[in-house]
Symmetry: C2
DNA sequence: TATCGATTATATGTATACAACTTGAATACC
DNA sequence: GGTATTCAAGTTGTATACATATAATCGATA
């Protein structure tokens, strides 16, 4: 693996995992020490992370970790919903063959399978997260648009904007089972709409589906102040004041 | 100015202006020679341009200029329309005060003024382009969402996705006057919708407004094969085969 | 003559050196 | 006592050196 890749992955992990002080300048020499890579690949990673939106350049040089307020988070989710809506509409307009839909159908069946039990184990949540990611990714494939794929990839670079962001966080919540079933209901309807070429319906469903993530976030944050296992939560300013 | 900024601006100019061979690896030593800056800031610029989508990394290292097909271009325009639609909807939902709307109204009036004459000079097209950019930018201000602003900024980084992309290109076309009037009609209706808080209408109008750029592109490219003054056109594969 | 292989040349990725600048602190000054 | 001011330590931005990997060239062989 390239050193710059190592630096990027590690730095992202450090930022999302809360290993670095927010509101402080990211000192390159200190990062050199912690990541064990020279300044050059670290600077490459910093440039990339700025474009991702996880850090921001300081006027006097260098970077600092970016913090978001709750409106930013909601906007990011709304933005994802809009882009997935566009992709879903395009997917429906493309009138995919049964063969092209097979991947999406498979993800759907796996999600059904995971949710079939009475209760969900920690492992089930993890499986759900993966299968959910696959579903969303396969949907994007059906849109068959590199431009849209990139736009969406850039959007979900913000940690809480990802379709799978809050799945793990709600493991253990009493409402979780029901929420996941609602999400899966929406997945099914989305599949139907795309299969039938109902493009407007597909777009609306994808949008509303993303808004479920908003509700998830609200529910998770209303819980115990003992903050849940949500990577990147410390990047949200006043997370306790939700 | 920083060397890396100089390198970024110059490189972007070289790519869009067709000063570099497409389908060839961007040789860093040669760029050093042409831009008169060391490899370090050039590499920074290359990383940024890759994120912008203007160049792509080669599997064996280095970068090459990215080429787009017509579907990519249409998708980029559709994407911009979708994002501007989201911004317009949000702007309408925000119920801006008359004072907040003043900037948008001013851009609208200036556009009216430019179009008031019987014919349009080269200079008028240039003025239109600027005022049009201001209108779209001010609209984005009204959405008051950094997340959306960034998403749109990343989208219009593709040269032909910008709201002003085809304005200059159509200077001299017989249809141009009419097209600009239609665009301005849409601007007015968009303003009305935002002022009245008609969010769905605002969204639809913004989307359809972007699709006018698609028609512009089609018209411009159906013209004389003597390719018009459209920066970045050589990045579109088979532009002649439209 | 065309294709494969070895060798040379060149480019990329990384580390490091250096200069200009920023930041923090200590001291002088009001 | 509080505010400038100067100085030092540290940091960033840039240039360059070096090792490894890639591309090109030339020659050999089928």
């Amino acid at each position: 693996m390239q050193q710059s890749t190592k630096a990027l992955l590690r730095l992202r992990q450090m930022i999302l995992g809360g290993e670095l002080d927010v509101d402080e300048r990211l000192s390159e020499p200190k990062l050199v020490e912690r990541i064990a890579v020279s300044r050059t690949p670290i600077r490459v990673a910093l440039v990339k992370l700025e474009h991702e939106g996880l850090i921001e350049a300081l006027p006097s040089g260098g970077y600092k970790i970016r913090v978001f307020n709750k409106q930013d988070v909601f906007d990011a989710i709304e933005l994802r919903g809009t882009l997935e809506g566009l992709a879903a509409r395009r997917a429906a307009e493309n009138r995919p063959t049964r063969r092209a839909l097979a991947g999406l159908a498979r993800a759907l069946t796996e999600l059904d399978d995971i949710l079939s039990g009475e209760t969900l184990s920690e492992d089930d949540f993890s499986r759900y997260m993966n299968a959910n990611a696959t579903f969303h990714d396969t949907l994007l494939d059906l849109a068959a648009s590199p431009v849209m794929r990139e736009a969406l990839a850039r959007t979900v670079a913000l940690p809480f904007a990802s379709p799978s962001a809050f799945v793990m966080a709600q493991a253990g919540l009493p409402e979780s089972h029901q929420i996941l079933h609602i999400a899966q209901y929406q997945h099914h309807r989305l599949y139907e709409a795309i299969e039938a070429g109902e493009s407007s319906r597909a777009e609306d469903l994808a949008r509303e589906h993303a808004r479920l993530a908003k509700r998830n976030l609200e529910i998770v944050l209303e819980q115990d102040p003992a903050v849940p296992n949500l990577p990147g939560l410390q990047l949200i300013k006043d997370a306790g004041a939700f």
